[in-house]
């Protein structure tokens, strides 16, 4: 499957799950089918509001073989001025949205003998796409959902009847989930996956490591975020042109957006073709080409992945 550009989609259904949670179903704009989605995948949803554009990452809650629609569940963040507010308050059935190809940064480990899934609050979403896959493969798993006591019913309803191995734990203010009880007595070959608030994911990782789990058996959700970062300005010394690099675009994309033919090949920080000489500014190196010494010197930058720690970079180009 070669996916070129965004997936054009339309909102087919919006379901209120509780006062702050809504499930959105998207269908392909031109009919047909979406690409098979990896379990645990997320999509970037581009939302075009009246004043600005958001690009937010949400986990798909639909399994790989559900190709007639994708679904996400979004919590409306209090006092939100971002995408969740727009999704909850403005998006209606029939609206057009753009989705990125589903990206897989939270896969199921192929050799795990057993899977422990630990979620906090809306962090449950990637595990909703895991469950049918684990069931189909006949894999042993436990799912532990931690949430505020008043949301226990919502999450129980989402997970269906509390079948063997699926637990919804209400956690009151000031209480802490008993992670050691979950992680202490698991068979060799068990992998743990966690998604939710930073504090919970940190606690799962620390608890597991403290109990002697191997680091490769501990997985936490991440939307990557390698590509974007703080916006900055790049100045091209030879022409004197200044170009703004947005938060969600790369330096290379900003140059290309201005019609500048900058060198590139792999677009992933591996080949070194896009390296340009840096005259001034502090780079944020994210490539795999430059050695540590070269990175410290700061005389070259891989435009396809690297960014700026200073407000401006000046390139000899």
């Amino acid at each position: 499957m070669i996916l070129d550009g965004k997936l054009a989609a339309r909102v087919a259904e919006i379901e209120l799950l509780n006062p702050t949670l809504k499930r959105f179903r998207f269908v392909p704009e031109s009919g047909g089918a979406f690409p098979t989605s990896p379990p645990g995948a997320h999509v970037l949803v581009t939302l075009r509001g009246p004043d600005r554009v958001w690009q937010n990452a949400y986990s798909l809650v639909t399994p790989p073989d559900q190709r007639d629609h994708y679904a996400i569940i979004v919590r409306r963040v209090p006092d939100s001025r971002g995408g969740s507010h727009f999704l909850h308050d403005w998006l209606t059935i029939g609206d057009a949205v753009e989705l990125s190809a589903p990206a897989s940064l939270f896969p199921i480990a192929s050799l795990a003998r057993k899977h422990i899934l630990i979620a906090g609050g809306i962090g449950l979403t990637p595990f909703l796409s895991y469950r049918p896959v684990l069931a189909l493969r006949g894999s042993a798993y436990e799912l532990h959902q931690f949430c505020a006591p008043d949301e226990v019913e919502t999450f129980r309803a989402l997970l269906g009847s509390e079948s063997t191995g699926v637990h919804v734990h209400g956690v009151g203010r000031g209480e802490r989930p008993d992670l050691a009880a979950i992680l202490a007595d698991q068979p060799l070959g068990t992998h743990v996956y966690t998604c939710g608030p930073q504090g919970l994911m940190d606690a799962v990782e620390e608890t597991a490591r403290g109990l002697g789990w191997t680091p490769h058996a501990i997985h936490r959700e991440s939307f990557g975020g390698d590509k974007g970062g703080e916006p900055f300005t790049v100045t091209l010394a030879r022409s004197g042109r200044s170009i703004a690099v947005g938060a969600s675009q790369t330096l290379l994309e900003a140059l290309e957006g201005e019609g500048i033919e900058a060198p590139c090949l792999c677009r992933g920080g591996a080949c070194g073709v896009c390296l340009l000489p840096l005259v001034d500014g502090i780079p944020d190196h994210r490539d795999h080409v430059l050695s540590d010494a070269e990175k410290a010197e700061g005389r070259l930058i891989a435009t396809c992945v690297s960014r700026a720690r200073s407000g401006t970079l000046v390139l000899d180009f």
Partner: protein
């Protein structure tokens, strides 16, 4: 109008394999410059580029039917050319889905796929196959899903499992290989299976390539070209069968080199698979005789310059030692030293007779 398949050609015994003029002009000549050295020459596998072989996810050409028959012959003699470790079953179905979807979308006149939930119907017209099966239920296919679909595709395929920040070659269909063995390599990590390659380790090529591939994203495959040379148009140059083809190298003479020596180019593609998170590595092999290369002015001159400047370690590793001198002296007479355009395109639309 579809592809005109050359259904009778062979890659062994009488070696009746030949390229049509169209096939010569669309050949993925691998040298964009006058010198060759290892690099991380990976680019996005988008449906465009400087050779028509890049126009589809999986290129099908006039040799399709004959190559599938050749694969079946190799598998008859040595079933271990196709092996997949047990934990890779999701990757097997991913591969079947990717190949069936790509082929039926890119070549609707030759392949068709219709689906009703998990009830799938696959038609392969060139091979005269009509198969109904249940996606996810291997018992409804004549063999395991990876073997089933890669018997119907040109080129070799391997499956890389991603775990512990590394890639492991945990499966493959390998019958058209340039002297490496799946039976020997299966289960190896990325640096282990690249162990024999000279020079490239020292310049960090594999460290960088691994970091890049670990981040390979679904829907955004990548590709590169690799090359070597083979005597006679033989696809199966495997270590297992070395006694069959190794001695061919001693048969090359100044009189027969143009017909016997073949440039062997691999279009290597890497696809992230959805259910398994594995990587499918396609190694699509193209063969062209020296005499057909000589019909393209730019290519014969460039090949001369590349071979003349090739580091001795690469001459040795690629197995060119015995005929390198002969090839050079023949090509030198055809190279006036004029500057050549950058890139791999042939720069001519027709071939001399």
């Amino acid at each position: 109008m579809g592809i005109q398949f050359k259904t009778d050609e062979t890659f062994r015994d009488d070696f009746s394999y030949r390229n049509s003029d169209t096939a010569v002009l669309r050949f993925p000549f691998p040298f964009g410059e006058d010198r060759y050295m290892y690099s991380v020459n990976i680019e996005p596998h988008v449906k465009a580029g400087t050779s028509p072989v890049f126009d589809h996810a999986f290129d099908v050409d006039e040799h399709y039917v004959a190559e599938c028959r050749e694969r079946a012959i190799v598998l008859d003699h040595d079933p271990k050319r196709c092996q997949v470790l047990p934990h890779m079953m999701p990757a097997q179905w991913d591969t079947l889905e990717l190949l069936m979807e790509s082929l039926s979308t890119d070549y609707p006149e030759h392949f068709s796929l219709t689906r009703d939930g998990t009830a799938w119907h696959w038609i392969n017209r060139p091979l005269n196959l009509d198969q109904r099966f249940v996606f996810g239920d291997a018992s409804t296919l004549p063999c395991a899903p990876f073997e089933y679909i890669t018997r119907q595709a040109q080129g070799d395929f391997t499956l890389q499992d991603q775990r512990d920040d590394n890639l492991y070659v945990d499966g493959g269909m390998v019958t058209t290989q340039a002297d490496w063995s799946l039976e020997f390599d299966i289960g190896m990590s990325f640096h282990e299976w690249h162990g024999p390659v000279p020079l490239a380790h020292e310049i960090g090529v594999f460290d960088r390539a691994l970091q890049y591939l670990l981040r390979l994203q679904y829907g955004h495959p990548v590709r590169r070209l690799n090359w070597t040379m083979t005597i006679n148009p033989r696809l199966d140059t495997s270590p297992e069968n070395y006694p069959d083809w190794g001695p061919d190298r001693t048969t090359v003479t100044a009189e027969n080199i143009a017909g016997k020596l073949h440039l062997r180019v691999e279009l290597q593609t890497l696809f992230r698979l959805p259910r398994s998170n594995a990587i499918l590595f396609g190694i699509r092999c193209y063969l062209i005789s020296l005499q057909d290369i000589e019909r393209v002015e730019k290519w014969r001159k460039r090949l001369h310059r590349v071979l003349a400047s090739l580091p001795p370690e690469l001459v040795e590793y690629k197995g060119l030692t015995r005929f390198h001198g002969l090839a050079l002296s023949r090509l030198a007479a055809l190279d006036d030293g004029a500057p050549l355009s950058l890139g791999i395109q042939p720069d001519q639309a027709h071939l001399p007779a």
